[in-house]
């Protein structure tokens, strides 16, 4: 086709540039907020440290400027906790935005379509029935997430999978897994109940770097895969017909994206428990910040990390003397956000 003058192309380029600028701005804002949240998490606590002291501790492995007490608190206790929040929150955020985009439904996060509930059922079974703990429980959670995902995908298959059917079956499976958890509790000894409940709430207590290694590895491998698949997601979002018309292998791309999303949710749940609603809120918050400025993948990961670290800070330091697990705060925050989303959808007449 011939280009008719410069003006039309100029308009198109200007729109694209404007969106790119907004994307860069949102990413910068989220990065600064995340750094600030980590800084706060490292400095504040029963043993408050000035920021300069925190920085010195962080650099001490390189500078050799060691101070055992402070270094232990910063590097041994608070840093692993903050990193746990960042990685798990990031993985939940990625998983959530992938689910929501693939299934074209803002409510379709892994905590709503049953993935985290499946992980919970097997983890609770591991604690209550088999008396396992630690890594064995984490592995059970992973297995549970993958198995329930397979069940949901299999049950919704009928000449291909439609997003809507997948969401409905996911919600049903989530209820079944929830029932399994309740049943297991009725058979449990009181000591196991406590442990299982603590796990179910999701918490960053006792986080350590060794403990986080599998999650870090999962993120390292799966984030680039998600970034590559995001291209086909851009087409999938236009509906199956248009996506196929544009040359996307719809079933294959959708399956690939769901596998990545399930593995991310499984890895995060195995590491810190099913921290409620982080996966659910991250995508929508990122999209609200981005407006029409496109690719919500990395912004959602940052929002997830930020929400988790921020909620942990609130749970630890701002709710009186009782230190609560992070899941209590994210659960409350997520519930409020859910109501806000439903109300907003209702107002704009789009209903979900």
């Amino acid at each position: 086709m011939s280009t008719t003058g410069f003006a039309p192309v100029g308009t198109v380029v200007a729109v694209r540039r404007r969106l790119q600028r907004r994307y860069a701005l949102v990413m910068a804002l989220l990065a600064v907020l995340t750094l600030a949240a980590i800084g706060l998490a490292l400095a504040v606590g029963d043993y408050p440290l000035p920021l300069a002291e925190v920085v010195r501790s962080l650099l001490s492995p390189f500078t050799g400027n060691v101070e055992p007490a402070g270094d232990f608190i910063v590097l041994g206790v608070r840093l692993p906790r903050a990193v746990a929040g960042l990685l798990a929150g990031g993985a939940f955020g990625l998983s959530g935005v992938l689910f929501q985009s693939v299934l074209r439904n803002p409510l379709a996060s892994p905590d709503i379509v049953g993935i985290t509930m499946g992980a919970s059922a097997t983890a609770v079974a591991a604690i209550i029935v088999f008396d396992w703990s630690g890594t064995a429980v984490s592995l059970s959670a992973c297995v549970g997430a993958v198995v329930i995902a397979l069940l949901i995908y299999g049950l919704s298959w009928r000449n291909g999978v439609t997003p809507y059917r997948l969401v409905l079956i996911g919600i049903g499976m989530s209820a079944i897994a929830g029932a399994v958890v309740s049943y297991l509790f009725t058979r449990a000894r009181i000591f196991d109940v406590q442990e299982a409940l603590a796990w179910l709430t999701g918490s960053l207590n006792g986080a350590s770097f060794e403990h986080l290694a599998p999650l870090a590895l999962a993120l390292l491998v799966l984030t680039p895969v998600a970034a590559v698949l995001w291209r086909s997601l851009n087409a999938l979002q236009l509906g199956d017909d248009t996506a196929k018309a544009l040359g996307t292998r719809v079933e294959l791309s959708r399956l690939g994206l769901i596998i990545v999303a399930v593995l991310l949710a499984a890895a995060a749940t195995a590491a810190v428990g099913p921290v409620a609603f982080v996966a659910f809120v991250s995508g929508p918050i990122a999209r609200r910040l981005l407006g029409p400025a496109g690719n919500a993948l990395l912004p959602s990961a940052l929002v997830g990390g930020l929400v988790t670290i921020g909620s942990d800070f609130v749970a630890q330091h701002m709710l009186g003397r009782n230190q609560l697990p992070v899941g209590v705060v994210t659960g409350a925050f997520g519930a409020v956000f859910l109501i806000y989303l439903l109300a907003a959808a209702h107002r704009s007449g789009r209903g979900g």
């Binding site: 086709m1 280009t3 008719t4 039309p8 192309v9 308009t11 198109v12 380029v13 200007a14 729109v15 694209r16 404007r18 969106l19 074209r104 590559v228 291209r231 851009n234 087409a235 979002q237 236009l238 509906g239 199956d240 017909d241 248009t242 196929k244 018309a245 544009l246 040359g247 996307t248 292998r249 999209r287 407006g291 029409p292 496109g294 789009r350």
Partner: protein
């Protein structure tokens, strides 16, 4: 400049779940012509179009693109030759017009070929052709139905394919924009040698613009050929179940259908119809 791609179907059977909609249909789309498919609601026009565009897998029979079975070709290769506008496409929340139209460039991009200046040019051309350039920065979900329809046409145009299949591209459009869109599609056919297939409901515009018209009834081709060959009162009666007079369109001398309903009909005609 056009390679004149051939699209045809042999004994094509299409359906959903346990219902067969199109049975043993054979059709050849004339290359470098404007083909219009007409027919009553639910007679299977969209189903046929989706089958031809490899969006629906056939129960039996084959769709051929340049002699190759289209369902066996790499879907991305097909997407560079054949563009489709489905009847009810969905736009993601909040997406801008320029971004949506840009998605039409998807088949031209890949791992190593990202967004380039040619993509901007294709998007700009498509926007200009559909009279939507001044909407480029607006959100699609804030547009009127007709504006949105033209944006979707722009997306299909941005794909820059030799073959273009459009399902009811003129719904929601006012009369002026209907004519503009059909003029634009005719330009593509007659000036650039593209092959265009469109489902239309306005029989008079169909007769005026079609080089080749396909009338469908109950999943079968009831008649096909040039509009004067095909469009007769008998055909209108059998395809749409409606009495009509066919006169000559004063502007184009193509057939023009004047429907005869139960009311507002001169007594003489009424008697003839009964």
């Amino acid at each position: 400049m056009s390679a004149n791609h051939q699209l045809s179907a042999a004994d094509l059977t299409l359906g959903y779940a346990d219902r067969t909609i199109v049975e043993k249909l054979s059709i050849a789309i004339p290359p470098a012509r404007f083909t219009v498919i007409v027919g009553a609601n639910a007679c299977g026009k969209s189903t046929l179009l989706r089958g031809l565009a490899r969006l629906l897998t056939p129960r039996a029979g084959t769709v051929y693109l340049d002699g190759r079975a289209i369902h066996q070709m790499p879907t991305k290769e097909v997407a560079t030759l054949l563009g489709v506008l489905p009847q009810t496409p969905v736009a993601p929340d909040g997406i801008t017009v320029a971004d949506l139209v840009g998605r039409g460039r998807y088949p031209h991009q890949g791992w190593f070929r990202q967004w380039v200046a040619a993509d901007d040019a294709a998007v700009a051309n498509a926007l200009q052709a559909t009279d939507t350039l001044d909407l480029a920065g607006r959100a699609v979900d804030e547009l009127s139905g007709g504006q949105r329809q033209r944006v979707w046409i722009a997306m299909a145009l941005a794909q820059e394919t030799e073959l273009l299949l459009l399902d009811e591209p003129t719904t929601f459009l006012d009369i002026n924009h209907q004519v503009e869109v059909l003029d634009l599609l005719t330009d593509l056919v007659h000036e650039r040698g593209r092959t265009v297939v469109a489902v239309l409901h306005d029989l008079n515009l169909a007769c005026r613009y079609a080089d080749h018209i396909v009338a469908m009834r109950d999943g079968k081709v009831a008649a096909s050929g040039t509009p004067p060959e095909v469009v007769t009162p008998e055909l209108v009666k059998s395809v749409f179940g409606m009495d009509a007079e066919v006169v000559s369109d004063p502007v184009s001398h193509t057939p023009m259908i004047v429907p005869v309903g139960r009311h507002k009909v001169k007594a003489k005609l009424k008697a003839a119809a009964e």
